[in-house]
Symmetry: C2
Subunit: 266 residues, 2 copies
């Protein structure tokens, strides 16, 4: 195999030359394939879909974390659903929460990320508690309450399918503090309009404030990506930003506003 | 041939299923290939690079025209260099200028676009003057003065190579009115950083105000695109917006600000 191809649909997609295979195995849940590419560095794929590349992951991971965390004065507990690659944890830690809980269904993803990504050390952080289980089930039964929940899931096929259901959203609300914020990745505005309308319709029934925002995502379908911000307390365009971590590559106070403005019309 | 592939580099690119070949010939200047794809509609390619797709062209064409034209109270003469597909003309016409001059080197591109795109009628507009010649040479010798110049060129390979030279930029300034605005497409922030630094360095010597801005560009390399705004008179973040055409799909007063904020950090 010399080339990795991701079909976005039957009619279009993206390809990458495989310069070196790092890992290629089926786990209990999915096909995990990690390889090296000259343009994008290490590329992690699950079930033939690109999850991240070293070169461009910062757009996605800064976008899925900071627009929520930056509004919360002193985040105590943060939950990440999915995100076994560890990069969302790395970004959340910049806000100095007391605890981060990560629920990842596939421990193989964590093991591979620990070994292969430069942020792999985050898995040793003492603030971290990892639950190797189904995010849907975890959220249904936990008694915890979180300041922020980040749903960093894969697409609505395979193990993440349940994470696009109304029951899941209701359970998320249950484990969120009154002044909490939920952020979910919400797919491509070019390829997944239908899913987005469905996500929005359901979440709008549950939260007072629901707003889409966007980030570039060069190696995801359509090159741009949507996220949804939900809260009963914070309004991303009105609430005060409490802190911006240093040395970010994408997110800033100006960008915060711009990505919500653009997200609204995509 | 069942699939069209655009290599962004030797190591990565994009692919489209070819559902129907509409046109496939070498002109005097370049290979012109127009085909139909289920996801993106008609796709026009020159020398194996995607120029536009019916589905997503509005991001690019609204971005390359309105941020300049919306600032000018009463645009008299507008020059478009390249843009033989006609869609930039279509957008410029929404600002009701007195004259539009188009300099396109390859008349085949115009002929094909006239026949195949739903905006093909713009070529019959009486405000339009078409010059079938080299944009570099036209700008060097013309005695006209323009309110706005849009450089809607292809990439710096093939016939457009000369459009990335300092001499060209100096000649553009010569044919721009004192209160004029120049906009150039400025390639991908993911793949063409080096070209961008060069463009900026040269233009900054010639114009008081030079600012990059961005738009999504799902079928261009990296999925996002940069443009450069140059003027001695207008500042895109300070000058008043005089008009926003109706029924746009991307550009608006809010988006104007957001795309400059994001362009600055890409």
């Amino acid at each position: 195999m010399k080339e990795f191809r991701e079909h976005h649909t039957k009619s279009s997609g993206i390809f990458f030359k495989i310069d070196k295979v790092i890992y290629n195995k089926k786990s209990k849940f999915q096909k995990i394939f990690l390889f090296e590419n000259k343009d994008f560095g290490k590329i992690l794929t699950l079930d033939n879909l690109v999850m991240l590349t070293e070169k461009d992951e910062y757009f996605y991971h800064e976008a899925i974390t900071h627009p929520a965390l930056s509004l919360i004065k002193k985040p105590e507990k943060v939950l990440i659903v999915g995100g076994g690659d560890g990069k969302a944890i790395y970004e959340v830690l910049k806000h100095n929460p007391e605890e981060i809980h990560v629920v990842e269904i596939d421990k193989e993803v964590i093991e591979i990320s620990k070994k292969n990504f430069k942020w792999g050390k985050v898995f040793e952080n003492k603030k971290l508690k990892i639950f190797i289980e189904d995010g849907y089930e975890f959220v249904k039964k936990t008694k915890e309450k979180y300041d922020a929940i980040i749903v960093d899931s894969s697409d609505p096929i395979g193990p993440a399918k349940k994470l696009y259901r109304k029951e899941f959203y209701l359970n998320l609300k249950n484990v969120l503090k009154k002044k909490g914020v939920l952020i979910m990745q919400a797919e491509s505005p070019i390829y997944h309009k239908k899913i987005q309308r469905k996500i929005y319709k359901e979440l709008k029934k549950i939260f007072k404030i629901c707003k889409f925002y966007f980030s570039p995502a060069p190696t995801y379908p359509g090159g741009i990506w949507l996220y949804i911000f939900c809260s009963d307390f914070y309004n991303p365009l009105k609430s005060k930003i409490k802190r911006i971590p240093k040395n970010l590559k994408f997110y800033s106070e100006k960008i915060h506003k711009a990505i919500f403005e653009i997200g609204e019309i995509l």
